[in-house]
């Protein structure tokens, strides 16, 4: 059980500032995800925690002990890699035992821990195989068992699922989550996949351009984004140019019952599943537009509509659509944006729920 603290960590590669002063606290036993697009600094931060890279400034502590001056092999940190990094010349069992041998544990204990580890990742029975005989998913399970076998203070995972196909990805994701819960190991998980982050994490840190944009539970990050980047990156978000009209918000030709922010140049934001079309919107307080359906994409349990309105193009999502609703392409339709689902995104990129005027 270990609590990780990251204080004012900065890192530059040449002229490029990859981390611009990151502060984070990861509670003991927490599953903490660093989410962001490639180049946002998430992997660099993970590698700094692991000790594969040194930070330029700032400190990393685990339970109050600074670990950032320790060499990587003395940090007692388990790592799971994107490309599995399973040793191809060693069997599955030898891979899992590898870290235990470095710790000079007695053979009997190594054997017990290997067996336990393989059972945990559901690879019992494959102990004598070589990695080349395993599928990608199985190899990553070996990687996981190997990292867990040393009972590290922290478990770091660098996009462990991104080389697997969709179905396997979800299976292994569930297993990782279950194992982590059961063992209560503090875990830092790096991914660029927002759905994965939402599904697996206790808390998410959305990163962009070397800055931690927002830290919060999956629910908060999705429903109450505090920064434009987080709002756009996690899930899908409609942004509509809006203007001040007196103290209120004007969208297209309509003045809304919403208070305008202090400065001009702001947008309104709303998630596609909150855009209501046709009869679905009747009776909700909000603003109505006449729209034309320019495209309908049927995805099975839902359908996605591209709507052209005077305020701009909008995406709308309808759960369990009817046959009639699917035949709407090219036709006019009423659209409602409910006030309680509208967010205001300031020119500076801050996001807050819209306030009634």
């Amino acid at each position: 059980m270990s609590r990780l603290e990251i204080r004012a960590v900065e890192k530059s590669f040449g002229e490029v500032r990859v981390l611009k002063g990151v502060d984070l606290t990861v509670e003991s036993g927490e599953f903490f995800t660093l989410l962001g697009p490639s180049g946002c600094g998430k992997t660099t931060l993970l590698r700094i925690i692991a000790g594969f890279q040194g930070q330029d400034r700032g400190e990393v502590t685990v339970d109050g002990d600074r670990i950032d001056r320790l060499p990587a092999h003395k940090r007692d940190v388990g790592m799971v890699f994107q490309d599995y990094a399973v040793f191809p010349h060693l069997t599955v069992a030898e891979n899992v035992a590898f870290g235990l041998r470095a710790r000079k544990l007695p053979e009997a204990e190594i054997k017990a821990r290997v067996e336990e580890g393989l059972r945990m990742v559901r690879l019992d029975g494959l102990a004598a195989r070589l990695p080349s005989e395993l599928s990608g998913g199985q190899q990553q399970r070996v990687g996981l068992a190997r990292a867990m076998a040393i009972r590290p203070r922290l478990l770091l995972m660098d996009e462990p699922l991104s080389n697997l196909d969709a179905k396997l990805r979800i299976d292994l994701r569930e297993d990782i989550r279950d194992i982590q819960r059961r063992l209560g190991i503090t875990t830092i998980y790096v991914t660029h996949d927002q759905e994965e982050a939402l599904a697996i994490s206790d808390r998410i840190c959305v990163m962009e351009k070397g800055v931690a944009e927002q830290v919060g539970s999956p629910f908060d990050v999705y429903h109450a984004p505090r920064r434009r980047f987080a709002a756009a990156f996690v899930g899908t978000m409609n942004f509509l140019k809006a203007a001040r009209d007196g103290g209120r918000v004007r969208l297209g030709s309509q003045v809304l019952q919403l208070a305008a922010p202090a400065a001009d140049g702001f947008d309104l934001a709303i998630r596609p599943e909150n855009v209501l079309i046709g009869a679905l919107g009747e009776g909700r307080p909000g603003v109505d537009f006449d729209a034309v359906v320019s495209k309908v994409v049927f995805l099975g349990r839902e359908a996605q509509y591209t709507l052209r309105t005077e305020a701009g193009d909008l995406l709308a999502q309808v759960a369990d659509p009817t046959r009639e609703l699917l035949a709407m392409e090219g036709r006019p339709i009423r659209v409602k944006l409910p006030y309680d689902k509208i967010l205001v995104c300031s020119a500076a990129g801050d996001v807050a729920p819209a306030e009634a005027a």
């Binding site: 692991a50 990587a72 092999h73 003395k74 890699f81 994107q82 990094a85 040793f87």
Partner: protein, 553 residues
């Protein structure tokens, strides 16, 4: 990307980097600088002069040597390309029986001691050549092998295996779907060959072409033994440097510099031309193999076997003639082990020397090459990139020039090493180090860096992670590379020829001297022994690397 944290104390790889640079400076930069300096000084007065270079471009004999060098290079390259590309096309695209035999013969041609080619051709087609005499007895007079034509022919048959192996590698990596797409778009098979297949393998073919050109202009033994008055830069430099009386080191150095600049210019040109043309795809379907029928089938088989048999002919000849009876330099009818008895009785020293020097050189090459390869692959930084660039230099410095450079540098204070075995080892070491370093780097680049990081995160120090994970994984490749280094080290002629003294004669030098003296029996027997050792090493390398020949050569 993987720059280690500087603050976590001392990085052993910095020491390696320092040692590598020290070696490059001491064995490469310093000696070559001496050559450059000698070329710019007057031999007698020691004053600065560009007179040597003026002579190179004004004196008729040197201008002819430059022209001949180009003729030999272009001729050898063209011949090798024709033979090599044809053979590669036949073998990769048609069902040819005995593919293994063809590949083995090509490899034998490739690893045969380079100069036995020249000498075996003399035995067959020289003034008293067996084949010539045979034809003469039938009343047919065929020209001797001597002269420019002979040199070019020998080069073509000696260097085509390089082209063959590189090109067939590229040809079997051409995605079948791409060719099918071309046919689907309406191209005939012949159009497809010229519009799709050739452009795709062009980078490999130009690389092979360059290699054969550089090998041809650097070759010393062939023009020396069968060129007669066909002098090239390499032979001129050797003659000028080595003359017992009135050697002209300034001039020899100037010619050496011209040779280096020529090779270097070509390498840079080829890099420019092909850098962007690296085609790759993840999805791979092996190309079709067509089963030819009738006369076409017969013709293809005949062509393929003719090319490799002629290529391997020198090796076969050397072995066959080593068992013939001789009287003095003249072969007699009948079989005998006379030549081997003479080898054992009089010239066993070169065998021991060769084995000892090559052994030392190979150990040094492998250790240093692997470490440098690691730096190149895993520690990208300006000092390593510069080291990588510096490693290109030995590729383009002909053996003769390297020999001259080392003897010029270590002939007097501060380090007097002339006449020791060490200089011979040093020359081989620095000439072959790049191959070992590059192949180690290539092997490491195939290996994900996260493997070592995984070991480190599991509690092994970086040095232990390297030993426990990286070394076992690239070990077989390194060992195979070591055996191939052994092959080239044992067969090194040109630099040793400049550096040897009576006590440090090696097998190749002794064979060369025997050929010059017309002692063909002795030369055959020694060549056969050398060939035997070479084949053993090559077999070992293939066993270790799972028969991926082209990755070794």
């Amino acid at each position: 990307m993987l720059a280690p944290t500087k603050r976590h104390g001392f990085d052993p790889w910095l020491v390696v980097l320092g040692v590598a640079w020290a070696i490059m400076l001491a064995l490469l930069v310093w000696p070559l600088w001496s050559v450059l300096s000698a070329s710019l000084h007057d031999n007698d007065t020691g004053a600065w002069t560009i007179g040597n270079y003026a002579d190179v471009f004004t004196l008729k004999s040197y201008r002819r040597a430059i022209a001949n060098t180009f003729i030999a290079g272009l001729g050898g390259m063209t011949g090798a390309l024709l033979l090599g590309v044809s053979l590669a096309l036949i073998v990769t695209r048609y069902a040819i029986r005995g593919r293994i035999v063809i590949q083995t013969l090509a490899v034998i041609a490739l690893v045969s001691p380079p100069f036995i080619g020249a000498y075996a051709w003399i035995v067959l087609f020289g003034a008293n050549g067996v084949v010539r005499q045979g034809f003469a007895s039938l009343g047919i007079d065929i020209p001797t092998i001597y002269g420019a034509t002979g040199v070019i022919l020998v080069f073509a048959f000696k260097f085509f295996p390089h082209v063959f192996l590189i090109t067939s590698g590229a040809l079997s990596a051409v995605n079948r779907s791409v060719e099918e797409a071309a046919e689907g778009l309406g191209l005939s098979p012949v159009q497809r060959l010229f519009k799709v297949t050739f452009p795709l393998i062009l980078p490999s073919v130009t690389a092979a072409a360059l290699l054969t050109f550089v090998l041809s202009i650097a070759d010393f033994g062939t023009p020396r033994l069968i060129g007669r008055d066909f002098n090239v830069l390499a032979t001129e430099a050797f003659t000028l440097f080595g003359s017992e009386v009135g050697g002209n080191p300034g001039m020899a150095s100037a010619l050496s510099m011209v040779l280096i600049i020529l090779s270097m210019g070509l390498v840079l040109l080829q890099r420019r031309l092909t850098r962007r043309d690296v085609y790759g795809g993840n999805l791979m379907r092996r190309p079709f193999v067509v089963k030819a029928t009738g006369w076409k089938n017969v013709g293809l088989h005949a062509a393929a076997y003719a090319i490799v048999l002629v290529g391997a002919l020198p090796a076969i000849t050397a072995v066959a003639f080593s068992f013939r009876a001789t009287r003095g330099p003249v072969f007699q009818p009948g079989l005998s082990l006379q030549s081997y008895e003479r080898v054992i009785a009089t010239v066993s020293k070169p065998i021991v020397n060769s084995l000892v020097y090559s052994g030392f050189a190979v150990v040094a090459i492998v250790v240093m090459g692997t470490l440098i390869g690691y730096l190149i692959a895993r520690r990208p930084q300006p000092a390593t990139a510069a080291l990588d660039g510096m490693l290109m230099v030995p590729y383009v410095v002909p053996g003769i020039v390297m020999g001259i450079a080392i003897i010029t540098r270590f002939n007097g204070p501060p380090l007097e090493l002339t006449g020791t075995g060490l200089v011979i080892v040093m020359a081989v070491f620095i000439r072959r180090l790049p191959y070992s370093a590059r192949s180690a780097a290539a092997a490491l680049k195939q290996l994900s860096p996260s493997l070592e990081e995984a070991a480190i995160s599991l509690g092994y120090s970086p040095a232990k992670a390297f030993l426990r994970v990286t070394v076992p994984l690239i070990g077989p490749g390194i060992l195979a590379g070591a055996l191939m280094s052994l092959v080239t080290a044992m067969n090194e002629l040109s630099s040793s020829l400049v550096l040897y003294v009576g006590a440090t004669v090696t097998m190749p030098v002794r064979i060369y001297l025997a050929v010059l003296d017309g002692e063909y029996g002795l030369a055959s027997a020694l060549s056969t022994i050398l060939l035997g050792l070479t084949v053993l090493a090559v077999l070992g390398a293939f066993l270790l690397s799972g028969r991926k020949q082209s990755s070794l050569l």
